[in-house]
Symmetry: C7
Subunit: 104 residues, 7 copies
Amino acid sequence: MASRVPTFTKTIVPMLDRVLVQRIKPQQKTASGIYIPEKAQETLNEGHVIAVGKGLITSEGKVIAPELKEGDKVLLPPYGGSTVKIDNEELLLFRESEILAKVL
Amino acid sequence: MASRVPTFTKTIVPMLDRVLVQRIKPQQKTASGIYIPEKAQETLNEGHVIAVGKGLITSEGKVIAPELKEGDKVLLPPYGGSTVKIDNEELLLFRESEILAKVL
Amino acid sequence: MASRVPTFTKTIVPMLDRVLVQRIKPQQKTASGIYIPEKAQETLNEGHVIAVGKGLITSEGKVIAPELKEGDKVLLPPYGGSTVKIDNEELLLFRESEILAKVL
Amino acid sequence: MASRVPTFTKTIVPMLDRVLVQRIKPQQKTASGIYIPEKAQETLNEGHVIAVGKGLITSEGKVIAPELKEGDKVLLPPYGGSTVKIDNEELLLFRESEILAKVL
Amino acid sequence: MASRVPTFTKTIVPMLDRVLVQRIKPQQKTASGIYIPEKAQETLNEGHVIAVGKGLITSEGKVIAPELKEGDKVLLPPYGGSTVKIDNEELLLFRESEILAKVL
Amino acid sequence: MASRVPTFTKTIVPMLDRVLVQRIKPQQKTASGIYIPEKAQETLNEGHVIAVGKGLITSEGKVIAPELKEGDKVLLPPYGGSTVKIDNEELLLFRESEILAKVL
Amino acid sequence: MASRVPTFTKTIVPMLDRVLVQRIKPQQKTASGIYIPEKAQETLNEGHVIAVGKGLITSEGKVIAPELKEGDKVLLPPYGGSTVKIDNEELLLFRESEILAKVL
């Protein structure tokens, strides 16, 4: 459950206000080192921001810079987002306004 | 049914105009000290604001500051909101415009 | 069927352009003093405004002051509104634009 | 089938761009004085404007004055509108933009 | 199948950008004078404009004058429009933007 | 499968940003001159622009001139458009923004 | 699985902010040269931009230039897009805002 942001072999530049997020994997062992079966593992709604787009373009053509940046830890909404597979890792693309909160 | 705002081990910064709310728990004992079974407890639509975002960004890129602040007691809508689990406590994230009213 | 606006033990400040309304109760006795069974009582779509919010915030961040004020008698839409319970009394929260008319 | 606008014991002030309309009742007798059974009476989509609101408020907070006025004869849409009962008379509240046409 | 615009005993003034249209009736006789049974008659999507409203009001309160005028021959959309009965004649009210094209 | 734009006995002026399009008919003979049965003919999503409207009117009342012009070859969306029959020929009316692409 | 952008016999100019994309074909042979049956081939959500439109026209009539250009490698959304067949090759047309990300 490392907080480190991994590096991928491809550079993904999200379009507009999209953010590329990697879901934090649930604990696979208990504190005492016993493996938790996959079904009993909790789904976590936390993720790390891998990349952010340039920002939303308003109807007047102005760019609104994103609030999030690479490395931010975020709370993800229970639904939504597009799944993409990069280096055999499932990542998620969200519009920034869908991200619920930043975790400090 | 304390009015005190609890502290969490993580700092959650809601995105945009979102507010993080903790629902007030229904009374678990009667006035005379008898425990009320969970099914007979009333669901309360009141909550305490734990954290607020920076505010909504208008289509012109202007930030509208939130009206609510940490510690406010609010009336919650019967539906909507995203549930997040922090320190084993279920919290709710609402857009500020979904909050029905402030309770003074 | 008093026209008096009751007072509650809690002060509710509706958010934005919301109005807190108390539905006027249907007549429970006939003119000659006979009680009307609850099922035969007519549902009234009239109510009294208990409290109003500061007003809607436009997409430019300007506040539009509400047209209604505390004590106004209003015609309610047949659907919509959020029910809240205050002092064991069922009250309704509507967006001001949902209120059909003012009754003078 | 009088064209006269009736008076009610209550003054209704429609909110925003709403108009209070009384549907014109279908003919209940033939020209020769024979009563037409209620089922055979035609539903008319014409009505008289009883009252109009101050007008719609634009997203910039400007009021757009209504085009209709008390006494206007109008063509009503087949659906929509909210029914309200005033002095045992069923009246209808429409947004002005829902009214199809004015009849001169 | 006259191209003449008929006159009605009532003057209908469509609201906003609405246009009052009379659908062109399908041919009821063949070229050689034989009557075509009603079921075999083709539905035509052409009509004549009987009356037009003042035009749409923009969200800034500006009136956009209609492009169509009384007497114009138009192509009607297959769906939509509100049917009104005037002088026992079925007429249609459309928003001007629903009209597909003008036929010269 | 001529690329020529046919002429019709009626002049159709599409309203607003609508474009009148004639779908290009699929090949009816093979290269060697054998007729292809209608069911085996491919539906083509290409068409020729027969006429264009004056352009869309913005909410401020400004006209946005169309990008397409009479004679343009276009890619049509698989759904949408209104079918009209002119001179026994089925034509299609689309909003210009529904047209996928221009073919040079 | 060449990264080269193919050339087509027809020039397609996407309308507005549309982009013409060719989906990258999944690997048809394993590293050791064995053919993978079509059903076992993975669907890839990557594509190459073949052509881009002039850009979206705002409601004020201003053109917003596209961010993507011919040759860009992009991540495609799992749904949406219009399929067109050019030179017996299935291509896709997307609105630029539907494209998830650029791959560098």
